[in-house]
Symmetry: C2
Subunit: 230 residues, 2 copies
DNA sequence: GACCGGTATCTACCATACAAGATTGCGGAA
DNA sequence: TTCCGCAATCTTGTATGGTAGATACCGGTC
């Protein structure tokens, strides 16, 4: 099975609580589609897999259910929630309104070191894209957008939408082929270039264009993986 | 003490799970300031108070912690989270961008029955405001805004921000005097009037004005209740 | 009197046992 | 063959005991 095995190295850790480690492992498996929408999992199942009792697993389920990744049906079963197309659209609507506002602020007050930081992130992404390393590319892409939020002084607001963004991430993971990754890097460059010029309108347009990319892919993705959607 | 006592009527209920009932009770107590920011609570304490075991209480704590109302300090204690002024500002920023977009859509396509529904809600609010019934006014105010979201076809998006809105609710509860309630009703009327005219720009302006009311009150509230804020 | 160390006692965390609802499947009746 | 009902076996929900860590208190030392 393709489930991530954190178990092996879990004897004595100085890290945090078991429940949180299970949360991270499961969330990673769900977003990367190792656990597919519709899959049924049980507390006992996961508990045995990770070598812990049902208790921490149960708490992990609660957290993930609240983030919209799991659906707990009392006394029945717990399933990996299918992706809601309508939910994806509305999540994207929210994200776009916020990120557009963010990029406007960044472009309006961009300094040299700001541009340098962003270019550094883009260089890493380019390497990952050429190596076709999807698992490494994804965090880098996220890091790029989060850095923009921090530069705009609204990192807290970014965290607010971060949870709900995972719905979008699942779709994105399905659609990320090689060309997609390279195109994403190219679009990031366009955005940073506008920021470097202090071109507010241009940066906003580039960001809207970048985010709207997923829109046209959604319908196609539903066609390719109909079982993963509601 | 002023904690809500659901316990009395909890013998055999056809309702849902105990954990969810504890969640609702605690959340209500927190938002209405029966449990004040900084108050320390423990699993055993609440468990005894509600006549259940520690297990459902623990799960309730996890849910509320993820919603930002509680702060669980492992092996130490669990406290009612203090209000973060910066968090309030950014939550308000997010809410405003979304609600402004909502009211624009509603105003652009408002029918007669739409206006009738909104006027009905306002009538109820007016009654509660004149009776100075804060505990009844609050849900009605929320219902008004939620109805707008539903009319705009983005009820799901409203649910997304609903959790984080509780931070704002706590501040609002502190500031809701009689005059505030009556002014809120008055502003709601102004909004609906613009919607009835199909006046998009007017509705947007009225909504911005309505939401910005809390902004000026935040600093004053921090001065009045410094211990409730970070 | 001020400071330091050990201990009692709190906390949340985890494991285990039991309970109750829901599903599945099997066996018998029509 | 089809359909109905009961029972074995799933699931999550709840209760309780024990564990490790953190705090607070209290007595002794300087």
């Amino acid at each position: 099975m393709g489930i991530s095995k954190v178990t092996a190295s879990v004897d004595q850790t100085i890290d945090e609580t078991m429940a949180l480690r299970v949360v991270r492992a499961l969330r990673d498996d769900i977003v990367t589609m190792a656990l597919k929408p519709g899959d049924v999992i049980s507390e006992s199942d996961i508990a045995g897999r990770y070598g812990v009792s049902r208790q921490p697993v149960r708490e992990a389920f609660i957290r993930l259910a609240q983030q919209g990744l799991l659906l707990i049906r009392p006394k029945r079963a717990t399933v990996v929630k299918k992706i809601s197309p309508e939910g994806v659209r509305q999540s994207r609507f929210i994200r776009e309104s916020i990120e557009v506002e963010i990029i406007r602020r960044v472009a309006a007050q961009a300094g040299d070191e700001t541009v340098a930081v962003l270019n550094g992130l883009i260089a890493e992404q380019e390497a990952a894209a050429q190596a076709d390393d999807t698992r490494r590319f994804h965090p880098l892409d996220e890091s790029f957008h989060r850095s923009l939020a921090r530069l705009a002084g609204v990192e807290y607001a970014w965290q607010l939408i971060d949870d709900h963004k995972m719905q979008l991430d699942r779709v994105r993971y399905l659609t990320l082929g090689l060309s997609s990754k390279q195109r994403a890097v190219s679009e990031h460059k366009t955005i940073v270039a506008a920021v470097a010029r202090g071109d507010v309108a241009g940066a906003e347009a580039a960001m809207r264009d970048h985010l709207s990319r997923a829109e046209v892919l959604l319908a196609q993705t539903i066609g390719d993986f109909p079982d993963y959607f509601e």
